[in-house]
């Protein structure tokens, strides 16, 4: 700062005014209100009993902790499966051409497709067993036997996949069983049309 520009008289007057100011400002009304609001909205620490009956089950610390752990775990597993799926897809590029185009390549893709499989199968089965179908009861009985064979295969592969969700071969085998079931039901529904 250039000392030639400072007016000594004005500086002394300013210092006198500053010296007259209080060391701290305490607006008591405002702080009390803030304090009350903080205390009203505070979360009850874990283990301390609370008098408030308004806490929902999902607000309970145990639930929130479990949800957090589950979220972290599922995110990690999803990422791992996605990465392994991509890697496996690259490794087996040489045999990919033999796989039907619609075959899901990863557990995520399969899981998304499984609901469709089940819904379509239920719809087709209802058509085959409907009164409008011309298939005889004997034929429907034979058909149900074959469907039961495929369902048993699906169940077996599904259980194996639950234990090993990143196994692409299992995904293909299971998808193939679902495809066979849909194909048989479609053919039977078509045969049942007069």
């Amino acid at each position: 700062m250039n000392e030639e520009l400072i007016d000594p008289e004005k500086l002394r007057a300013l210092e006198a005014k500053v010296a007259g100011l209080p060391r701290a400002i305490h607006p008591p009304d405002v702080w009390n209100e803030i304090r009350e609001k903080i205390e009203r909205d505070s979360i009850t620490p874990i283990g301390r009993s609370t008098a408030s009956p308004a806490i929902r089950f999902w607000q309970k610390p145990g639930f929130m902790l479990a949800a957090t752990v589950l979220l972290i775990a599922s995110t990690s597993v999803t990422t791992m499966i996605a990465l392994r799926g991509d890697s496996a897809a690259r490794d087996s590029a040489s045999v990919a051409s033999a796989r039907p185009a619609a075959m899901p390549a990863s557990f995520l893709q399969f899981a998304a497709k499984e609901n469709n499989y089940i819904q379509t199968a239920n719809r087709l089965q209802a058509i085959v067993e409907s009164e409008g179908s011309t298939l005889s009861p004997e034929t429907v009985a034979k058909l149900k036997k074959s469907i039961a064979v495929i369902d048993a295969a699906i169940l077996e592969a599904r259980e194996a996949l639950a234990a090993d969700p990143a196994n692409r071969d299992l995904i293909e085998i299971l998808s193939s069983s679902y495809d066979k079931k849909l194909d048989l039901l479609r053919r039977s529904a078509a045969m049942g049309r007069s």
Partner: protein, 290 residues
């Protein structure tokens, strides 16, 4: 006693003959026209011939009615049964232009095709399907009927549920499928092929053309693949809980995860064609053809 038996036999024969009514009808049909046949029970026999006409002959149960009509570009015939729940058996023989397109639907009736080069669509519940010759393309479907093809169709889809599917011949594009029946390929060269079952065995003794591919897919059926020694094939076998045996190449399968199942990736000859076999718990065997 002997006289009684002869008399009874004669009486039964006469009654049987009396229970059938003869049918015979012909019409002009273009060489590539389509013809539809609907006959629930009995037999349907289709024979290709080098004429631009159609000739149908046979017999139907007394009380049933035979209908046939259409134009030279497309026609159909059907047997109307007096009792659809318990249809009488009809014996139908159709001489059709060798390159026409034939559609057949039966319930318990068997279907036989010979000397035919056109297109076939055959649907049956429990009847047997037997095709001899080389139709250009064919689609054969059954619920529990067996399907047998002896010939070399360019394109074939043959599917049964509890019936067997048997093939003997060459094919550019084949899908042979069953649930609990078996799939058997006795011989032949395939360009693109898919053989599948759920619990039924798959037996293959054939070849894959250069650059071609074959996929074997089953849940618990055995997969038995026999090929010529040094056939040029890249092979990939996987089973989740089954066993792999390899007598075609010197490679040994590696155990699968958790000590169950196995995988084998190997090349026979110079490779080129692709063979992929997958099963959940069915054993896979690779061997040389005898």
């Amino acid at each position: 006693m002997k006289m009684w038996m002869i008399a009874a036999a004669l009486l039964f024969g006469a009654a049987s003959a009396g229970a059938q009514a003869k049918v015979e009808k012909g019409m002009k049909l273009e060489k590539t026209a389509s013809f539809r046949i609907y006959s629930l029970a009995g037999t349907v026999r289709i024979i290709g011939w080098n004429r631009d006409s159609l000739h149908v002959r046979g017999s139907i149960a007394r009380g049933d009615e035979f209908h046939m009509g259409g134009s030279p570009s497309g026609a159909k015939m059907f047997v109307e049964n007096a009792d659809e729940r318990n249809p009488g058996e009809a014996v139908i023989e159709v001489f059709a232009p060798v390159r026409s397109r034939i559609w057949v639907k039966t319930a318990t009736g068997s279907v036989t095709v010979s000397d035919f080069l056109g297109g076939l669509d055959i649907y049956t519940v429990s009847g047997a399907i037997n095709v001899t010759g080389s139709p250009d393309d064919m689609n054969a479907e059954a619920i529990d009927g067996n399907i047998r093809i002896s010939g070399s169709p360019r394109f074939v889809r043959a599917k049964s549920a509890s019936g067997r599917v048997e093939f003997n011949g060459n094919c550019d594009d084949a899908t042979l499928s069953t649930v609990s029946g078996g799939v058997t390929v006795e011989r032949g060269v395939f360009e693109r092929a898919r053989f599948e079952s759920v619990t039924g065995p798959i037996r293959f003794a054939g070849a894959i053309s250069s650059g071609g591919s074959a996929v074997f897919d089953t849940h618990s059926g055995i997969t038995d693949i026999a090929m010529a020694k040094n056939a040029d094939v890249d092979i990939s076998l996987v089973t989740i809980a089954g066993k792999i045996s390899n007598a075609l190449t010197s490679s040994r399968p590696i155990p699968g995860r958790y000590g169950r199942g196995g995988e084998l990736t190997t090349t026979s000859g110079d490779g080129g064609a692709q063979l992929v076999a997958k099963s959940f718990k069915g054993n896979i065997t690779l061997k040389t053809v005898k």
